[in-house]
Amino acid sequence: MITLFAMFSSALIFMAICFGLLQVKRWGKYWPIAYVCAAVALVLPINNWIMIEFVRGFFSDISITTLFLVVCYLYNTIKPNSIQVQPSLKWFVLALGVFMFPMTMGATMFDPFAMGYTANPAYNYLVVTLAGIALIAWFFSHPHLALVIALALVANGVGLLESENLWSYLIDPVAVIICIFSFIFAGINKALRLRKSTEF
């Protein structure tokens, strides 16, 4: 199950990269052609490997958060603007990245990633805190954030990824990069809209 899920995630992330590079959003009703091309490219043999194995080798197993963002992106290429990922989720991911990555790279003796391992004394507190954040987010109408945390907790509980660490289900650099670019593009679009409106 772990391998199948990882391969599925790798396939989706490869498709998202292909769709982004090919600007499939602009293809309109011809998007299935891009889908078929990406699907074929996924199983293209290169030396002794197929493309999907390279993707998994480079990206490792992606988090549930990244998977959610990628699925939203792919769905939006097929049906433009049908899912707008809520900023609360993106800010949550960015905040986690800022908190987590410098320390896991050795900035301090404290290692927040260790809290996600099941034998760590902080593990239970972390699980309860995240579930609490999910419930609060749901209560205050941030369903995307609530859903991602809830899915991550369930995926961690059933061991859907090869990692035994809860953080691996919530965050990875790909999610952070997607969120950063998402904010940049949103900022550019807003500036362009503002410029257009002032021109009139």
Binding site: T3, N48, E53, A114, T118, A134, L135, L147, E162
Partner: protein, 382 residues
């Protein structure tokens, strides 16, 4: 009903996830398991063996464990050079009766590792063998999919027949950053509850050491930071009692160039402030071990980077204060410590087998040297 389901799907999912995740929680006390006391011989034994030469053009990073019949199982990587695509992991058995190593057997290449791990593998690296008290042999090894050693991952495969056959590899996840940059070099410590601590190090951006605690299934249970990202890699652990563990650590920087030391009083869970010792270190691996009289010993290159050939000697030093101060008692290679001496000696490894100690190290990356000595021989050096 549907509206209710739709409305409460997310909170129900969150609570379900909470319960599922909490069921995984462990709450075990971490206590180091100590090796049984052994009977000591009075007569000093010191023997030297060479092996591996010609098997592959280059070889490195020897590791070994004791088998139940008294033999040793050794593993290393070999190929045309470090990091080359043709590098494979090899094993060999040292027969303690015949006192010779068997013909090396290739057990894993990058294609097999790719197949087992279901992803592209560019190269293989450092192996570490560990024999669990239950009789299972584990082989940890490093793989890289993209870039250099700083983007390594650790994997483990197990053997139920003392290394004759190996089961599929499993990837260990140690960082949230695409799980890259964790490597291994030195020996494992066993805990009383059957879990064990693998000393590992991180090399991307920050270079630091930590211990990952694992169970027999290869699940990572916890991680304990020994140092922060300050050029301190390849920790070698010495166990003095069920709580006291000392780490001797390689310096990978250019400022201090000394072996670092840190101490833990709770079985390696939390550590004090790490400090450099007086022992020179030219960014090369060290291996520290405790003898049967609770004295500390360390193998290292007694040199610094200013020397033209910083790895052309291999020193054996003793410490009476748990690794704070060291005194070199013998040079196993280049005894005169001549600067002009050709040769690179590195990646020492020690396996303790009761009264007998097996030291292994790489000789110019062309072969391995295996020294077999006992406690009585160590006493003659004091």
């Amino acid at each position: 009903m549907y509206i209710l389901f739709k409305r409460f799907f997310i909170p129900v999912l969150a609570i379900f996830g909470l319960i599922l995740s909490l069921t995984l929680s462990h709450d075990d006390e971490v206590v180091v398991s100590l090796a049984p006391e052994s009977t000591l011989e009075i007569t000093p034994i010191f023997e030297r063996y060479e092996f591996g030469e010609g098997n592959t053009p280059a070889m490195h990073s020897m590791t070994s464990v004791t088998l139940p019949n008294g033999n040793l199982l050794g593993a290393w990587y070999g190929g045309t050079g470090e990091g080359k695509p043709d590098v494979k992991l090899f094993t060999s058995v040292f027969d303690s009766q015949r006192l010779s190593w068997s013909q090396p057997v290739a057990i894993l290449d990058r294609y097999q590792a790719s197949d087992q791990l279901n992803r592209f593998i560019k190269k293989l690296g450092n192996p570490v063998l560990y024999r669990h008290p239950s009789g299972v042999t584990l082989l940890f090894y490093v793989t890289v999919s993209i870039g250099g050693w700083a983007t390594s991952n650790i994997n483990v495969m197990t053997s139920l027949d003392d290394g004759q056959t190996w089961h599929r590899s499993k990837r260990l996840v140690n960082t949230p950053f695409l799980n890259i940059s964790t490597l291994i070099k030195n020996d494992v410590i066993t805990y009383e509850d059957g879990t064990f601590g693998l000393p590992v190090y991180h090399e991307l951006i920050g270079e630091f050491s930590h211990i990952i605690r694992l169970d027999l299934a290869g699940n990572v249970l916890d991680s304990y930071r020994i140092t922060d990202g300050d050029n301190t890699i390849q920790p070698s652990l010495m166990v003095y009692d069920d709580k006291t563990v000392v780490a001797m650590i390689r310096d990978s920087g250019r400022d201090i160039e000394k072996v670092h030391r840190n101490i833990s009083y709770d079985s390696g869970v939390t550590w004090e402030e790490y400090q450099p010792t007086d022992v020179d270190n030219p960014n090369s691996a060290v291996f520290a071990f405790v003898d049967n009289n609770n004295r500390s010993w360390m193998l290292f290159n007694d040199s610094n980077r200013q020397r033209e050939r910083p790895r052309n000697n291999l020193a054996l030093a003793v410490s009476y204060d748990k690794g704070e101060t060291w005194k070199v008692v013998k040079y196993l290679e280049n005894p005169e410590k001549e600067d002009s001496h050709e040769g690179r000696y590195g990646y020492p490894w020690v396996t303790k087998q009761g009264d007998i100690f097996h030291v292994m190290y790489t000789w110019d990356r062309l072969k391995f040297i295996h020294l077999r000595f006992n406690q009585a021989w160590l006493e003659t050096l004091l």
